[in-house]
Symmetry: none
Subunit: 236 residues, 4 copies
DNA sequence: TATGAATGAGACTTCATTCAT
DNA sequence: AATGAATGAAGTCTCATTCAT
C-alpha cells in the first residue's frame, strides 16, 4: 500500500511515497539512495519556497535545483502539496509533542512554581525545533495565513494546530491561576502573534542585532507588559 | 482626476490606468461606468483572493465573477500585481497618515498624558481603516509575509512600511519615557504581531465571541502583560 | 452604396469607404476633414509598415500614431487590407498607365529609334512614381513577394501586375527587334529583379553614394552586360 | 552532437535546443525520435510559411500539421524566430562557404580564365544549395526584404549577408579586371536582384517552361546585356 | 529506477471589431 | 462623426503529469 502524503490522501500520515514493493534492505544501498533523493528534493524545494513563495515554485524548478529528473519527483511525492506536507510533518509532530508534554506536566503540577515550569517544556521543545528546522519554521511563518487550499494548505493546517494546542494549554494554565483573567483565545493569540512576528524578524534576517537576548526580552514583555515601570499600576 | 498607475510605471502612485484624455464629462455616463467596472473588478478580486489566495486566482476568475470580458481587465489594470497594488493603496496611505500624525503630536506633546494620547491617533486611524476596509486588511494579514515577488509583493511592501513606521514611532515614544527600555524593534514587532494575529482571528471569523471587548483586553495585555496580578513583580 | 476597398469586396475599386449618405458638399468642410483623416491614417500606417512590416502593425498602432480614435479607423477603411490596397492604388494605376502608354507608342513606332524611345515613357512614368511615392514604392519592394493572402496581398498583386505588364511589353519590344532572342519571361524578370533590388538599396538607404548616377549605370548594365569590354565577344 | 541555439542565446549557432546531458545513446531510439520531431516541425513550418507567410503562421498551425502537441514545440525551439533561424542556418553556412571559397580561389588566380573559373565555385555551391534546399531558398526570397524585426528577421539577416559577401567578391573580381568599371554595389545588387527574381519565378512555379535552360540564358544576359546584337556598341 | 520527452489544459495577453456615449 | 470602452477569439507560452526508453 502506498503511504502517500498528499492532499488527496488526507487519512494517511504525511511523508514520502514508498513504492509498493520496495527492493533492497532497509538501510541498504537503495534505501540510502532513496533518502538522499528525498533530502535533495526537500532541500531544494525549501530554499526555493523561501525565495519565491510556495505557489510560484514549479516542480521543474525543484528537480532542476535538486539535480534529478522531473519525472523522479513523482516517485517520491504525489505532488507539491505532498512535499510541503512532508516538510511540515516533523514540525507538526514537535509542536504536538511539546504542548502535550507540557499540558501533562501542568495537569500534574503541585503549586505555582511547578506549574510555571511546565512552560519550559514548551520553550525547550519549540526552541529545539527552531534551531534544527529554522528554514521550515520560516516557511511556516511565511505561509501560515494562507487559505487552506492548494499547496499552502499544510502551512495553514499547522497554524490551526498551533492555535488549538496553545489555547487548550492556556485554559489549563489559567485553571492553575497562572494567568490573568482574559479570554484564553485573546491572550493566546496575542502571544502567538508576538512570538511569531519576532521569530519571523529574526529568521528572515530583519533583525540585525544580537538575537540571543531576544527570548528573554520577549518573555518579560509578555509577562509584564510594555508600560514603563514608573507608570505601573499598583500590583493587585 | 484619477491617477494613472501601472506595474511598468512604478514611479506613479498606484491606481487604475486612465488615458490622458477621455471623452465624456467627469461624472458623466462613461465616467460612472468606468468607476463601476473598477469597483466590480476590485470587489471580485478581493473576494477571490481571500478565498483562495492571491496567487491561485486567475484573471479569468476575476473577470467572470465581476461579469466583464476577460480583455476588459487589461483596460483597467496592467496585471494582477497592479490590481493588488491598487487594493492596498488606500491602506498604505492611511497607515502612513496615522503614524505620521501621531508622531507629530507626540513630538509636540507636553507631559506623559498628552504623549500617551498620541496613540489614540493611531488607534483611531487604524480603527477606521479596519472598519472601512476590513477585507483589504484581512488580505494584507493573509499575504503580508510573502516574499516581495510577483502579485503578492504589494502586501509585503505594506508590511515593511508598517514595521518601519511603527519602529520609528516606538523610538519616539521611548524618548518620551512612555515605554520600558527595550530595543524598539523587539517590542514593536511584538505588539504588531500580537495585534495583527488577533485582528486576523477576528476578521477571518476564528473568534466566535464578542469582538467589541477585544481591543480593550488587548491594550491591557500589551501594557501590563500576561502575568496574573498576584504574581506581579514589585514595580520598579 | 459603399465603395469599400477591402479583401471582402474585391469587385469594387480600392479606396476609402464613403458613408452611404455623405453630408456636406464635396470640397466643403466635412469633405476636407475626411481627406485629412484619411491622409493622417495612411501616412501613419505607411511609416509603421516600413518600420515593422505590414503584418506586425496593429490598427491601434496606426490610429495612435495618426492621432485619431481606434473606432474612427473603421469609418475610413474596412480593415488593414483595405488600407494597404488604397496605399497601392495610385501606384498600380501609374504602373498600368506607364506600360500601356509605352506599349501603345511602341505599336505605332516606325524604326528602331522611335521604338526605343517608347521606353522613355516607362522610365518617365515610373520615375515620377518613385519620386512622388517613394515610401509606397519601398513598401511594395519590401512586401511584394508575400503570398497573396491577408493584408500583404495587395503588394503581391501589384507585383504580379508589374510582371504581367512588363512581359507583355517585352514581347512587343522583341517583335520590333529591339532585344536579343531570349524568352521574354526570363529577360523581363531579370530586369525587374535588377531594377527593384537597386531601387530597394537606394530607398532603404543601403546605398550611401550618389544615387543620381545609378540609373544611367543601371541602363548600361542592362543593355550591355557586366563583362569587361576588352573581353567582349565579337558582336553578332 | 547537435548545437544548441535559441533566441536568447544569440551567441551560439542557430539550431534546436538540446539539454546538455540526455539519456539514451546517440543514434538510439530517443535520438531518432528527437530528429524526427525536429524534422516534422521544420517541414510543417516551412510548408505553411510558404503558403501563408511567416508572420501569419501560428505555433499551433505548425504543431497540428506536424502531428505533435502544442507544448512540444517549445522543447525544440524557443519561439518561431528560433525555428526560422534554424531553417536558414544551413543556407547561411552554404552562402558563406561558397563565397569564401570562391574569393580564396580568386585571390590565388593567375590569369583571367583562372579567375573567371572562381565563379564556378559560387555557382556550384549555390546550385547545390538551391537543389537541396529549394523550399528554404524560396522562403528566403519571399521574406528577405522584411524589416529585421520579429520572426522574419533571420531572412533579412541572410539577405544582408548575401549582399555583403557578394559585394566583397565583386570588388575582388574587378581588381582582377574581370568586370566593367562600375561601383561594385550597383552591379552586384543588379546581379543579385536579377538572379533572385528569376529564381523566385522558377521556384514559385511562375515559369512554366523548361527551367534547365534558364541559368545559361541568365549568364549570357548578365555578362552581355539585353541589347539586340546588331545594335551592339563596338567592343572596346 | 531514472530520465526527460510528450501531452494538452490553461494562464496571460493582444487585438480586430462593434457599439454606447 | 468621433471616441474609446467592451468583447471574446486567438495567440504565446508554461507546467503538472504521464510514459516510453
Amino acid at each position: 500500500m502506498l503511504r502517500a502524503g498528499s492532499a488527496k490522501n488526507r487519512g494517511a500520515p504525511a511523508g514520502p511515497k514508498v513504492p509498493s514493493e520496495r527492493p533492497g534492505q532497509p538501510g541498504g544501498r537503495r534505501d540510502t539512495n532513496r533518502k538522499e533523493r528525498i533530502k535533495a528534493l526537500s532541500d531544494a524545494a525549501l530554499a526555493l519556497f523561501l525565495l519565491r513563495g510556495i505557489e510560484a515554485v514549479t516542480i521543474e524548478d525543484i528537480t532542476t535545483k535538486a539535480g534529478v529528473a522531473k519525472g523522479s519527483f513523482y516517485r517520491y511525492f504525489d505532488d507539491k502539496t505532498a512535499l510541503v506536507e512532508s516538510l511540515f510533518a516533523p514540525v507538526s509532530d514537535a509542536v504536538r509533542e511539546a504542548f502535550d508534554h507540557s499540558s501533562a506536566r501542568l495537569r500534574e503540577a503541585r503549586g505555582r512554581d511547578e506549574a510555571f515550569s511546565s512552560y519550559e517544556q514548551i520553550g525547550e521543545g519549540l526552541g529545539r525545533l527552531i534551531l534544527h528546522h529554522a528554514d521550515v519554521v520560516l516557511l511556516y511563518l511565511q505561509e501560515c495565513r494562507a487559505p487552506a487550499e492548494g499547496a499552502r494548505a499544510p502551512a495553514r493546517r499547522l497554524a490551526d494546530l498551533v492555535a488549538e494546542k496553545a489555547v487548550e494549554h492556556t485554559k489549563l494554565a489559567r485553571a492553575h491561576g497562572l494567568l490573568r483573567d482574559f479570554p484564553a483565545e485573546v491572550s493566546t493569540m496575542a502571544v502567538i502573534g508576538a512570538v511569531e512576528r519576532i521569530l519571523f524578524s529574526i529568521l528572515s534576517g530583519e533583525f540585525k542585532g544580537e538575537p540571543l537576548e531576544v527570548p528573554g526580552q520577549l518573555i518579560t514583555l509578555i509577562l509584564d507588559g510594555l508600560r514603563a515601570p514608573d507608570q505601573q499600576r499598583p500590583a493587585g
